[in-house]
Amino acid sequence: MTCVTTGFASPLCGYLLVAALLFAIGLAGALTRRNAILVLIGIELMLNAANLNLIAFWRYGPHPEALTGMMFAIFSIAVAAAEAAVGLGLVIAIYRHTNTTDLDKMNRMKG
């Protein structure tokens, strides 16, 4: 518990805790909301929390000049953008088919 008692003397710890909290918020949103779009928003928040971890470790870890963490974060942002496009396209397609975005009502595979 050194990190909290010393008032976040270690900066890495503060960033990691913020990322953990943001991940939990995103997970809670993805698991508790009924609307499919809100679930995608929760997933985006979780991806961003992971990116924050990667950048924090890149900044405070050894050998930042190797750029490994930063490259991982850049590719992760690109993959998240692709995921958002396909996910929102699926939401639109399901809405056309069933006239709802309520996940509790999407309980059949055949539509």
């Binding site: 050194t2 909290v4 008032g7 976040f8 003397a9 270690s10 890495l12 710890c13 503060g14 960033y15 990691l16 805790l17 913020v18 953990a20 909290l21 991940f23 939990a24 918020i25 995103g26 997970l27 809670a28 949103g29 698991l31 508790t32 909301r33 009924r34 609307n35 779009i37 928003i41 985006e44 928040l45 961003n48 990116n51 924050l52 950048i55 890149w58 900044r59 405070y60 870890g61 050894p62 000049e65 750029l67 930063m70 490259m71 850049i74 590719f75 942002i77 690109a78 993959v79 998240a80 953008a81 692709a82 496009a85 929102l88 396209g89 699926l90 939401v91 639109i92 809405y95 509790d104």
Partner: protein, 166 residues
């Protein structure tokens, strides 16, 4: 840690919390934009300028707008009669709290063992570009292919169904 970090962290977390708690979907996306902007500021405070500005461009510029378009195409921000939270919301909340407890415990217990480099890394955008077309050129090409495939796939998935096929 200084005051700036606390301010940005509180801004980011408040944005994220508001995004999943607000009932109106359009308000949710506005709060999400605040959270993305806070994350970009956190990246800037971590001396990752390129990633910070990429975050603003990709998330605030593209993903948030895409989500707004989807909300307006799927019936706008009207609130459902039977509440915005799923009937199993308590289970989800417990799982999220458990995940946060495990993550927080792991961070607090292990951060002493992590080496703490405090010198500001001297990395320019020039270095990032060189790395992207040098040692990371294969992942870059794969991401380019993935983005093309995802764009085409999203358009095909969201295209109108033909009448009679339903």
């Amino acid at each position: 840690m200084n005051v700036t970090f606390y301010f940005i962290a509180v801004l980011t977390l408040a944005g994220g919390l508001a995004a999943i708690l607000l009932k109106n979907l359009v308000h949710s996306v506005l709060a999400l934009t605040v959270a993305f902007a806070g994350l970009a500021l956190l990246f800037l405070s971590l001396d990752a300028q390129f990633v910070g500005f990429a975050q603003i461009l990709v998330y605030i510029g593209a993903v948030a707008i895409l989500i707004v378009f989807t909300i307006l195409l799927t019936g706008g921000s009207g609130q459902p009669k039977d509440g915005v939270f799923s009937h199993t919301w308590s289970v989800g909340l417990v799982i999220a709290a458990g995940v946060f407890a495990v993550l927080g415990w792991a961070v607090l217990e292990s951060v002493r063992a992590v080496p703490q480099q405090t010198a500001v890394p001297a990395v320019t955008v020039h270095d990032i570009g060189n790395a992207l077309v040098g040692c990371y050129v294969l992942p870059l090409e794969i991401v380019a292919l993935l983005l093309t495939a995802a764009t085409i796939g999203a358009v095909i998935v969201a295209m109108h169904e033909k009448k009679g096929l339903k």
